[in-house]
């Protein structure tokens, strides 16, 4: 027998956790985060495998194509660590990683990029309006406290559940977090909108500005609904603004 059953210590998991912040390094179109994923697992190579052949196979199988949202990749890392420690057959590990790709990408993108990040940014904008640069710092601090927790949670849950990690993804924390981030974003949008209108109310020529702000919001919204390239939308809005200024002299 070439291999020895060695337990992964808490310190090992902590090391992998710290390394997980580099999961996107070397991102390439063919295999996406494969390199970052392998780099994080490197400390396990000699710890879990003694023969050169086993080490080679381990390194090569984790260089296969893989992708996940960077903040949720630790779920896969924890689970794969557990499977490697238990000497799960390599083909099963590869299949397991393939299976996780979809949920980790979709859930993470929905939670982080579409809900949490914009919601916290709106909060940051509101706080910046009131407290200046401290508002910006609050956004940064809140987001990072959560991301540090999320990555740690992923590592711990992944390692504890192994093959069953998908059950944690399907219910509980991530789903609730996504739902409540969306709601928080909606509430904050309402607050920001009123604050912006109030800010304009105390300036002269408010009626024209109200009308044009609504028009710009409407144009942007329709452009997003119709999947138009937002880069063009920005330019069109600016051109429209200058044209209105020239023709009507308003705003």
């Amino acid at each position: 027998m070439h291999t020895h059953m060695r337990k992964i210590s808490k310190f090992d998991l902590f090391r992998l956790y710290l390394r997980s912040f580099f999961v996107q390094t070397g991102w390439a179109y063919e295999r996406m985060i494969a390199f970052g994923f392998l780099w994080i697992l490197i400390p396990l190579t000699k710890k879990l495998f003694s023969s050169m052949q086993e080490q080679r196979d381990f390194l090569k199988r984790h260089l296969l194509s893989f992708n996940a949202n960077p903040y949720l990749a630790s779920y896969a890392l924890g689970a794969v660590t557990k499977l490697e420690e238990n000497k799960t057959p390599p083909q099963q590990i590869i299949r397991f990683k393939d299976m996780l790709r979809g949920p980790l990408g979709a859930l993470g993108d929905n939670l982080i990029w579409q809900n949490l990040r914009p919601a916290l940014l709106i909060l940051g904008l509101i706080l910046t309006d009131r407290f200046g640069v401290y508002g910006v710092l609050s956004f940064w601090l809140i987001f990072n406290l959560h991301q540090v927790y999320l990555r740690a949670r992923g590592m711990v849950k992944g390692y504890a559940l192994g093959l069953g990690v998908s059950s944690d993804l399907a219910r509980g924390y991530l789903q609730n977090m996504t739902k409540w981030s969306g709601r928080m974003g909606a509430v904050l949008l309402g607050i920001l909108f009123v604050l912006k209108l109030n800010q304009m109310r105390i300036q002269p020529l408010q009626l024209e500005k109200f009308i044009f702000l609504f028009l710009f919001i409407l144009l942007s919204f329709v452009s997003f609904k119709r999947n138009k390239n937002p880069n063009y939308t920005i330019l069109i809005l600016l051109a429209f603004f200058l044209l209105m200024k020239a023709v009507v002299g308003l705003i």
Binding site: G26, W39, N115, W140, K209, F216, S220, L238
Partner: protein, 228 residues
Amino acid sequence: MIQELILISIFGGLVALDRTEAYQTMLSQPLLIGPVVGFVLGDLPGGLTIGILFQLAYLWVMPIGTASFPDPAVGTVVGSSGFILLNRLFPDRSNLILLLILLFGILFSLFAGWTLIKQRELNSKLLMKADLYAERVKITRLGHLLFWGLSGSFLRGFVIVASGILCILILLKPLVRLLSFISELYLQNVELPIWGLGIGTMVYLFGRSKNLLWCVWGVCLGMIFVFF
């Protein structure tokens, strides 16, 4: 001036790292970039203004999977630096400078996004090296590849920011002089379309029918803040 340029370019490199390669702490969000640049160049309010506007303009950018997207992070470093530097030279032309910086920043974000694609294509070579080292079980060398990946990204940010600021000083400085016939009054409220775009993006993201009640709650809360 050169010292400032180097400092801002180093910051550009760090921002590029945070954007795609490491940590993802959101240091690469324009809302954070603006004040940092403002602090370094001694104009915190100016940096904050540009940071907020770029954030609103690029709230829609989501670096998801293999999608190609602009890189507003590097664009904001360049834009806010340019805004502050040009404002020093032409303190009474802030609206014109703001408009030019917005246009330049948008174009530059697109260019920076293109360089990101190229960098990711280059990363394929890194992967090929990794394959080789994995085959030979050269674990230390595999570790070194991370350094090269990070260096490539840092350099991308550093070079683009440095060249962007130089572009602004070479191209936009004479352009501000050239466009001196445009009155400042004409360009007043140029930030309004960007606010419209930002709020439009938020409505698109959060204004779904299931969230409508929560939006109404927000409006009520906002009114309470305003009136009390």
